[in-house]
Amino acid sequence: MRNYVFKRLLQLIPILLGITFLSFAMMRLAGGDAISYLYESRGTAVAQEIIDAKKVELGLDKPFIIQYLTWLAGMLRGDMGISYVSNKDVFQTLTSKLPATLLLTGSAIVWTLVIALPLGIISAVRHNRIVDYLIRFFSFMGNSMPNFFAALLLMYVFSIRFKILPVITSGNTLVSLILPTATLVVSMAAKYTRQVRAVVLEELNKDYVIGARARGVKGSVIVFKSVLRVSMLTILTLLALSIGSLLGGTAIVENIFMWDGVGKLAVDAISMRDYPMIQAYVVWMAIIYVLVNLVTDILYHLLDPRVRLGGDRL
């Protein structure tokens, strides 16, 4: 087990180097005109000398690989440069907004589990009955709904039509968390219900379930004692994989509901061409994603005796 964790941590190094390199290269490809854009957006015409001087100041005149290494060394110290727009420290700005996004993501995951787990299980147990068809119908609808449309619909119904929730709240309060969470949950729960259903259904078709039924074990006991215990690992893994689309989804949802997290920060940074900020956002989202997947993989190994003892993955 310890060897496995160690091996996985070693494999992490090239991936992290790749992520940082790719993010850096991408921003540098467009880096030059960021400066002219910066001055243009202030509405002043500037001489080439000033642009060149700014380039030297930002280290944009050095060879590419040197720039990358300098940036990487800075990143390890928590220094990811200074925002082109606000002139504030990028890393600090990002970390100050991160808790809000994590809160939103966390509450979306919790509610997805609360909704999708029971629905998926019911749907599988009542396979091809009316309940199953109903649940499948709604999960299909949720799956085909773009999250910005869901967001605007929810906003229209709850804030404008029935005035239950405020359209825009000042700051991140619990009330303002409701609609963004609901938006993310619509598509996530829809997708996840389908996955839970498929996993449980597959498990229900295995021989040991037939055996247990033949011996007269009650259906509910089979589902909760055996089937769920076995399926739980796959179900959790699928949830971890969906973190990726969730992180992308927060960018849109935060933007619509003015939720003050990293997603909104990133979209604002993109429209202002604030490259260091975009860079920091991309790198950190990727790192979070990779780490979540790593932890899930390790947990998988830790919890599943088949994988743990067999040595190989399933």
Binding site: L29, F148, L152, N205, L247, G248, I252, V267, I278, A286
Partner: protein, 285 residues
Amino acid sequence: MTDHVTQRRQKVVRSHTGARLIFFLILAGCLLLAALFAEHLCPYDPYAQDLSIAMQVPGPDHLLGTDRYGRDMLSRVLIGGRTSIFATLILVAVVTVTGTGIGVISAWKPGPVDTVLMRISDLFLAFPSLVFALAVAGVLGGGVQNAILALALVSWPKYARLARSQTLVQKSSTYIMAARLSGSSDLQLVIRHILPNIAGPVLVTAVLDIGTMMMELAALSFLGLGVKPPMAEWGSMMSDGRSLLQSVPWMILAPGAAIFMTVMIFNLLGDTIRDYLDPKERTKG
């Protein structure tokens, strides 16, 4: 709880799937035709502004109302559909072709080529896809082509991996060995035997992805990183109506419902094609 599907029942299910497949194919075909001939279907010029009839409630003259510049919403949804649907189809085609190409090459040439290609695809898979696409589209500066490029960049690894694993399976089968022994060249083997045999799963994945890609493309446009106004496109039309949600909700509802229904039709089509081609999935329900 377990249903043992008998031969007879299987036939019945199959014929249902066939009928469903034809039904959804026709629906999708209608969508494509509507997109193709959008300008002939438009009751008004989708770009003609007339402030005297701005923000009109849906009614007999303007079935879906008018937007803030007095442009007919129905015409805009129709013409916007062309941009949305064709941009998505181009995106899916580009991703499928490049991804499959890379995957087949990777499986065909084990060793350094395979390793390098697969490590690159690992790298792209390490990013949350929409986050990366947002950044790429942002850096490239928006526009339809750039949005397509950004999404293509994050979506190809999935196809490369699928094509690679499928090719590896085919490659070791006896019929390939027989074809090789009877003198087929590598290129002939790939084009005549490998590609037709891996086409099924790749095609299913591609059709199932149309809906997702359409939503992602519209999301980029919604954030101002895809199609730029005044060009009509569903995502950018919704972004246009966002600030007027309170007074002119149909500016959101019309294009939103259009995306929703189109995505649903393509998702249903994808599911049906999968059921049709893969009986194992079908018995699972």
